[in-house]
């Protein structure tokens, strides 16, 4: 970890690989630097394919560098469910940042559907944070639960939309708006952009007025920009900063604390699956029980009972497990 602490980029990269691979060495690596975690600003950027997320992230990074902030970028792309392979091409839009010593870019594949990417992306951000990067931008394509989980780990979530390809109604249906702390209408020079911004304003307003008045809630600003021509991107940063000021009043600590708990849950679940389930070779036993006519729920109860010894198990552990970790 000496290399890591002295600013060696290879050491940071390797630590992230350990997180990705669920390598045993990661635990010690994180312990060694954990007191340094928590200084960086974490911003998630998501949106439908073709909305211009990579271009926006690249432009935001450029502006942050002009403000003399160092930047880490984590670009998460889906793995193929059939082959497990992935094409990670977001760097292509970030060419100018490649040789900047104040920028570190890492591409990550989502690898399967068990939520491992949510755990690994938090780990990667922790490592970038501990390594000393000021701002961390986490970019994913907003298509599935796993991707939501990834950006939800950020302090502020930016949802990027553009006219046409990923329009407002689609976004509302898919629930993208509910995770948004800042809404960006990219490609503002394309026809339909103004309309999309109005639609978003309206739905944000409706949501704000129809909910309970028991506490002051954040109303996501709607920001228009054209990342391709580098115009209006400063307003996106301003949107993120305004959310940050809103969080400053103790809210950030509360939210981060809750996210830490979630991370513990993920690690527990993953280790249960790997360490206990895989190692003990339950498969044959389970097959025998299923063969005798037990339902999958009955078999699961028996398995969990044995794993957990005397700890009481709920009647439908499968359902509880799902609610807890997905």
């Amino acid at each position: 970890m000496a290399r890591f602490l002295s600013g060696d980029r290879g050491a940071l990269a390797r630590a992230i690989s350990w997180a990705e691979n669920a390598d045993d060495r990661f635990q010690a690596a994180l312990s060694g630097v954990y007191e340094r975690v928590g200084r960086a600003v974490r911003v998630g950027v998501t949106g439908p394919p073709g909305a211009g997320k990579s271009t926006l992230v690249n432009e935001v990074a450029r502006l942050l560098r002009e403000m003399e902030r160092t930047v880490g970028i984590l670009a998460v792309d889906p793995s193929s469910p059939f082959t497990g392979g992935a094409l990670l091409g977001d760097r292509i839009r970030m060419e100018e940042r490649t040789l900047d010593p104040g920028v570190f870019i890492r591409s990550m594949a989502s690898r399967g559907s068990h939520g491992g990417i949510a755990r690994a992306s938090v780990d990667a951000c922790d490592m970038m944070d501990a390594w000393g990067l000021d701002e961390i931008l986490i970019e994913t394509v907003g298509v599935g639960q796993a991707e939501y989980d990834v950006v939800a780990a950020a302090d502020t979530v930016v949802v990027v939309l553009c006219p046409g390809a990923g329009d407002g109604i689609q976004a509302m249906k898919s629930g993208l708006l509910e995770v948004a702390d800042v809404l960006v209408v990219n490609k503002s020079d394309v026809s339909g952009a103004a309309r999309l911004a109005l639609d978003l304003e309206e739905s944000v307003h409706i949501r704000a007025t129809t909910r309970k008045h028991d506490e002051e809630k954040w109303v996501p600003p709607v920001v228009s920009c054209s990342a391709g021509t580098a115009s209006g991107v400063d307003a996106v940063i301003e949107g993120v900063e305004s959310h940050r000021r809103f969080l400053a009043d103790g809210r950030l600590e509360g939210a981060r604390g809750a996210k830490r708990v979630e991370q513990v849950q993920r690690v527990v679940t993953e280790r249960l699956a790997e360490g206990v389930w895989d190692a003990r070779g339950w498969r044959t036993e389970v097959e025998v029980l299923l063969g005798s006519g037990d339902t999958p729920y009955d078999v699961a109860s028996q398995v969990l009972g044995e794993i957990l010894g005397g700890i009481p198990v709920a009647g439908a552990p499968g359902a509880r497990k799902e609610a807890g970790c997905s």
Partner: protein, 141 residues
């Protein structure tokens, strides 16, 4: 290790814009279960090596059709070494005459693939090579 996958950087050094081969190979490697990072066009040796570091790849594959391979390929190798990445599996392809293939294979490149190479055989070569390396790593550890 529970979920280790081969990470490959497919890179285009130099000024030529012929990316048909590089992109096709990238797609084929993905279909063989690898995680492939494609650099895009017109990258300098320093950029390629820096990306390899940040992405902590296991394999770097260079593609070039401009004839500048004897100049650029060894430079990429040097840049990788300077950044502590001498361990990566280094391969390349393009319009490369036989004697140049021999020269590069004696200079840090494990394998050069000439025109007309079957893309599946490239994937299989990488898989076999990485399995051997990981097995050795495991034995050493």
């Amino acid at each position: 290790m529970t979920d280790r996958r081969i990470r490959v950087l497919v890179a285009k050094p130099g000024l030529d814009g012929h990316d048909r081969g590089a992109k096709t190979v990238a797609s084929v490697l993905r279909d063989h279960g690898m995680e492939v990072i494609y650099t895009g066009l017109h990258k300098t040796p320093a950029m390629i090596a820096e990306i390899a570091v940040q992405e902590d790849v296991d394999v770097v594959g260079l593609s070039i059709l401009s004839g500048a391979h004897m100049e650029l390929f060894p430079r990429v190798r040097k840049e990788l070494e300077q950044r502590g990445m001498a361990h990566v599996l280094l391969v390349g392809g393009g319009i490369i005459p036989r004697e140049d293939i021999e020269a590069l294979e004696g200079d840090g490149f494990t394998k050069l693939f000439g025109p007309g190479t079957n893309t599946d055989s490239i994937a299989e070569f990488i898989q076999t090579e990485m399995q051997q390396r990981w097995a050795k790593e495991g034995a050493d550890a």
